[in-house]
Symmetry: C2
Subunit: 206 residues, 2 copies
Amino acid sequence: MDYITDPRAIESKSMDIIDGLLGPLPISEGERKVIKRVVHTTGDPEFAKLVRWSDGAVSTGITALARGASVYTDVNMVRVGVNSRLLAGKGADAVCAISEPRVIAEAQRTGKTRAMTAFELLAPEMDGAVIAIGNAPTALFHLLSMVKEGRCRPALIVGTPVGFVGAAESKEALTEADVPFITVRGNKGGSTVAAAIVNAMLLQMP
Amino acid sequence: MDYITDPRAIESKSMDIIDGLLGPLPISEGERKVIKRVVHTTGDPEFAKLVRWSDGAVSTGITALARGASVYTDVNMVRVGVNSRLLAGKGADAVCAISEPRVIAEAQRTGKTRAMTAFELLAPEMDGAVIAIGNAPTALFHLLSMVKEGRCRPALIVGTPVGFVGAAESKEALTEADVPFITVRGNKGGSTVAAAIVNAMLLQMP
């Protein structure tokens, strides 16, 4: 079996193939890099048509991360998918509280999802952070209500919940909120997509 | 904003929607549960047409996991996506060596990917295990060469590498190998898909 084993050569060839698939797009180079990494991560060029952001959101995210913003995630898959080496270089971290005993206990008490409970408990420390939600529509809905109430002012929300129950609606609500965002339309999304969007910004930090 | 917050109600409604999307299929109930969880995890019904397995692979995987087989993964996103509580109930674990210092050092020395280096070093302990590869074609190619050489006899390989460089080819090679497998055709796949397939089997353990 003959195959490329050098990781840099694999990524470089992949990005060249994706460039060919995408063709020219009326967006900045930095925004194009976000779309390319999502397609690279999913093997699914349809994502290029689904990615949406508020004006300047990609630049806003890069600036926040370069200044040392930490990344708060809804699930551990997003946390470990984010490039922790690049975050650590800015003194930042990837944080997910879903497995903390206090979150599990509170979620059992209220019957709410652990993901939304985690954001409720983390709210006081998320001002200025990048928040990446790859899985749970409930977490995104709840975060948006906290933003609306002025209880939390993140620098950017990357919201790509996946599935058939509430995911598309939660992402639609994100596009209408008064907060910088990056999302994908429809049912598709997931932890790998959220992590890819964050990593595309981390890789562009000055 | 009005949305369902009970996690069991969300999953139950999602699976009902997916059942309606799939319609009848000429497969066992256990196999159908694998397909449903992949669609649930990706929000992408096209996966139902892409999933492939060797005869009896789903039963083989459930039996191995019920007997306490551990799950070896190529990347940490798959490791944390696998239901560790169900594994622990059988005295098993989810294992990923990609971040171990010995793997990083060896990969730097050889110029090979860390994922394939990790499987090289873990080979002696992977007999009888379930191996789940969600990201790296190189890891799957290398594992298949170790299986062919008799250096490793896993109970089942779940192989869903993603992307445009080697992924489809590595999965095609998996379908031709002399080992039980579950995979998806083409460029799509990823860590969430590999974890979903393993979790669908864990949830069916007697």
